[in-house]
Structure formats: structure tokens, C-alpha cells
Subunit: 314 residues, 2 copies
């Protein structure tokens, strides 16, 4: 429950996109006093290029104990975890799709540093990076993202892990590695690739124009990505979002990093990856009602459109 | 994959609600030739009051075999099932929230009749009724709904059933019955009730203003609802949607009936119920990224607002 996040919910309906707030932008240089508790900054010359602070209305709070307890027949616990807010850039206008390579590398370095730092808190099991762009429910235009650490395994990760473990138990291979091999072999859903990473629209994906970016070589822990791999990853992330923008007229989108279990478990089974979905306003009722996803754009068609949208990177 | 449903996806973005089509309304009397294959009708005097046809762009197709097979390392099957389209009324303008009691009973009778009829096809395991109202992704203003039968247990039902079975195994009681007792005892999340049914905002519900309507007495199979129970159920359904409309300025919403396993399994464990969620444009990125739901409106607050919106029914 996050009541402090719902104050203006009814006035913020999807059919009435929020006008940008009238106050000063909390992510712009000069307004740092609006988020005084700095967690980390990455310099860009004499100024900051990326800046991390606690979220002021956190979904998960860093202090305290989960205090699992009963409430009648129900179970409750406190929302313990980390919820950090990242100013992705000091530039109020520029989106990820237009980030220079050097700046995207700087941001990825920060996500790696936050992953490593949060691993030091033994309560936490998983780290996510979540980026929302342009949706009516984003309050700020200035590019920002969330770093979230959880002391439990959230449901979607649990499903991913359960499938990966079962597959590994049967075949002693990483299911993501096998999937990547199959995608590269079939070649009908590849959007872009370089020596280290591949961008693809997964087989039978749940959402139209859903893309994944994953290391071609097995890697379970984003926190251990090498310096040398940051540039090729930055290239494909910027490329994927530029393709979305060009192919689908700058849609709102969400991006998530599933960074791998922090405690090093499932090292053979898991494979870190980024997932990207545009928000295209397709029917959500069926998914909510039944859990059946209906994707109106086969990933093979999506890949063709995304490939055609712009030249290959590099 | 449903490619025929995605033709105009990019032009139908949530930020540009679809203007109503220029063609004749396929649900209005006089236009029956647009959906010639009639499955069932309920009369209203000399005319029809409710009319059921196959969906022209079905998510699931009635003919054929699932033909489960491999595609490289992946598994595929044909989308077999029933997907029926219901004209909820012959009146182009009237919404469920304004249905007269007699007409809501007529519609519920039709859902019961379709459930019983689809049970005759031994391939089918579950029936759902899905109703979307007013969202940008609804192509038609005229009130309509979907009756869907699946030859498999969709994921959300599987989760509901798995929890209910585990609870029953431990306590030999229906978890929904216990939940209803607890909700009625706590009384802080009750929106409306009568002798047969109760409307409530469930403890720790996933969505803001989510409501459930369930029979107070254990009942696993909507197909066996008695004639006498139709009126009190109709009253609470209309009442709940009128409250949403009044409390939240006529939001878009979805309604689903989880009708219970068609083959009579889980008779002691399952409990049929309706679920209602308004679409308020709150943040979806976290839910998609992690499976963590963050509800900005505690159900106790939602219940208070919904109760205050209008007098109690009856």
C-alpha cells in the first residue's frame, strides 16, 4: 500500500495526461536542495552527470525490519527495501534514445555501482533498474530512473527463476543461453547485435514490440559486467530506444534490468537482461482478467519494423 | 498471437483515444446482418434484449485441435476455445451502471446459459465473462461483453486455484468463505451487501478501487446459480458500477466473472466471484517489471469513498 503516491490519482487519469508540474524540476542542476540526501554522483567535467538520491515517496523503505505478522487471517509485512531515484542526466530535455555513448556508459556504470553497493546489505536479494519514459503517469519530463532492491523475490522474478531452474535441472544448461542461440539461429526476431550483446523481440512475447537485450555469453550478475562490455551495451540500449521512437512515433515505454540474484545463487541458471516494452494502449482487460496475453503484433513483424526504422548501429 | 487485432495499434495509442468508428454500430437493432451467426438471444418483449454471436476477430477459435508441437526449442499450440461477443442491451446509450434490474437479470441469465452450454464441450475447462467499459482500447461505445471458454487453465486462475487448494488442504475450508467472513467481521472494506451477496474492496488489493462481488454462501459454479439469486446479484453489480461512476467521475473499467471450473473439480476449494477494477492511469511500470503491485489507495479508503458515493441499495 502506497497511499502517499495516490493523492491526485483521479485527476491523473490516462485520458487526461498530466501537464508538467509548475514547480522547479527536481532533477535540474541548481535544484539539488530539493533532494538533499545524495547517495552517489558521477561527474561530467566539473558538474555532475548522473545523480542518485532516495525517492521521496519510496515504494520500499530502507530502515526497519519486515516484521512479518498476522492481521486476522491475512499476512502483512513492512515494505522494506531500497528505492533510489536517479537523475539520468543533468540535461532537462534529452532522452535515453539521444544519449551520447559516453553518457550512457556513465549511467550504466552508476547502475553497476549501485548494484555492488546494495549487495553489501545482506537483507537484499534482488536489484532492479526501472525506467519509465513519457507515460501519463510519469510526473517529470526530465529523464530519471529507479533503482530498487528487494529483500524478497518478487513474483515475476520468481516465475523467471522457477522456469530457469527447472530447465537447468533437466538439461544442465541455461535456458536464456539456449534461447539466445535459437534466436540467433532463427534470425527472424533479431533487431540489432554486436560482439557482446543482442537485441531481439522474443518468441511469443507478451507485449507488442517487446524487446530484450542480453549478453550473448552467459552472465548471471550485472554487478560484474566488465568495463569493456559497457560501450557495446550502451550502444544497443540507445539504439533500441531510438528504433522504438522512430518506428512507433515516440511512444511511452518502460525499461527494466533484471540484474540477477544478489547473493550469487542461481549463477548457472540465471542470465541478466534488459526488457523494453512500449505502452501502446492495447487491450489490457484480458490479461488482467485471465492472465492470457494476446499480442496483436507477432514479434517477427515487430523485428522487421524495428530493423527498418534505422541503420544498424556501429 | 492475434495479428488481426493489431492493425491500427499505433494510431490507437492511449494518448489519442479512438473516435467512434464511422460505420453503423454492430450491436444496434437493425444491424444484425453485421453479425449474422447468432448463438443465442434473450427476448425483451417483441425484440431482443441480449444477443450473443461469435467474435469476428476471436482470441480463441472454436474449431480445430490445439495440436501442441515444438518450434525449435519452443512450444506452440493453436488458440482453441470459445470467444463469444455479447450485445449487453439493444440500447446504444445505456451502461451497466444504469441497467434496470430486470435487464441486468436478463443479462446474468444469459451468462448462466452460456456457461451451461459451453460446459457441454468437454474440451473446455473454464468460462470467463469479461466486460470492458469506456477505455481507449474499446472500439465500441455500445455496451458489450465477452464470453470466453478455455481448454486450459489460464495463469491467473491457476494461481487462484493453487492458493485455494493449498489452503483447503491445510484447513479443509474454502479460503474465499474464510475471506468473506473476515471481511464481514472487520466491516472496514464492505461497500454494499444484501442477504445473498457482498461487495467489498479486498484486503491488500492489487488495484486502486478494486471491488469483488461474491456469494456469501459457498458456491463454486456460477452455472448453477438459482433464479432467486439473480435479482440480488444484479442489484449489487449495478450498484457497484454506479458507485464507481459517481465516486471516480465515470472512469473506464473492466469486470470479470471467474465462474469456476466447468468440470466440477475444486468444488470445495473454489468460490465464484466477480472482480471489478477501474483504469485510473496509475503507474504500471513496477508491476510489469517486477510483479510487485503498489496500490496508492488503501482498500479501506476506497470503501469509504465508494460507500459515500450513493445510498445503500434496496
Amino acid at each position: 500500500m502506497a497511499p502517499e503516491r495516490g493523492l491526485d490519482l483521479v485527476s491523473r487519469r490516462a485520458d487526461s495526461p498530466l501537464p508538467e508540474g509548475s514547480g522547479p524540476c527536481p532533477f535540474c542542476p541548481g535544484n539539488e536542495h530539493l533532494n538533499p540526501e545524495e547517495i552517489a554522483v558521477a561527474p561530467d567535467g566539473d558538474a555532475w552527470g548522473v545523480r542518485v538520491t532516495p525517492d521521496k515517496r519510496p515504494l520500499l523503505r530502507i530502515e526497519g525490519d519486515p516484521e512479518r505478522r498476522a492481521a486476522g487471517m491475512f499476512d502483512v509485512m513492512n515494505s522494506i527495501g531500497a528505492h533510489e531515484l536517479v537523475a539520468d542526466t543533468s540535461d532537462h530535455e534529452v532522452a535515453w534514445a539521444d544519449f551520447p555513448r559516453a553518457h550512457m556508459i556513465r549511467l550504466l556504470e552508476m547502475y553497476r555501482a549501485r548494484t555492488v553497493d546494495l549487495r553489501g546489505d545482506r537483507r537484499f536479494r534482488h536489484v532492479f533498474v526501472l525506467k519509465n519514459h513519457g507515460a501519463a503517469w510519469s510526473r517529470y519530463v526530465h529523464a530519471h530512473s529507479h533503482v530498487i532492491a528487494t529483500p524478497f523475490t518478487p513474483k515475476r522474478l520468481e516465475e523467471e527463476l522457477a522456469g530457469a531452474r527447472e530447465y537447468h535441472r533437466m538439461r544442465e544448461r541455461c535456458v536464456f543461453c539456449d534461447q539466445l542461440s535459437e534466436e540467433i539461429r532463427a534470425a527472424t526476431r533479431i533487431v540489432a547485435r554486436n560482439d557482446e550483446f543482442v537485441t531481439f523481440t522474443p518468441f511469443a512475447s507478451e507485449y507488442p514490440y517487446e524487446m530484450w537485450i542480453a549478453p550473448v555469453k552467459h552472465a548471471a550478475d550485472f554487478g560484474t559486467i566488465t568495463d569493456a562490455a559497457l560501450a557495446p551495451l550502451a550502444d544497443l540500449l540507445v539504439d533500441a530506444l531510438a528504433r522504438l521512437r522512430d518506428a512507433l512515433r515516440n511512444p511511452p515505454y518502460s525499461v527494466v534490468l533484471h540484474a540477477g540474484p544478489l547473493d550469487g545463487s542461481d549463477r548457472a541458471e540465471f542470465h541478466w537482461h534488459w526488457e523494453i516494452v512500449p505502452h501502446l494502449g492495447h487491450e489490457l482487460g484480458m490479461e488482467w482478467a485471465t492472465g492470457i496475453f494476446s499480442n496483436p503484433v507477432p514479434p517477427e513483424d515487430a523485428a522487421r519494423l524495428l530493423v527498418a526504422a534505422r541503420p544498424m548501429p556501429g
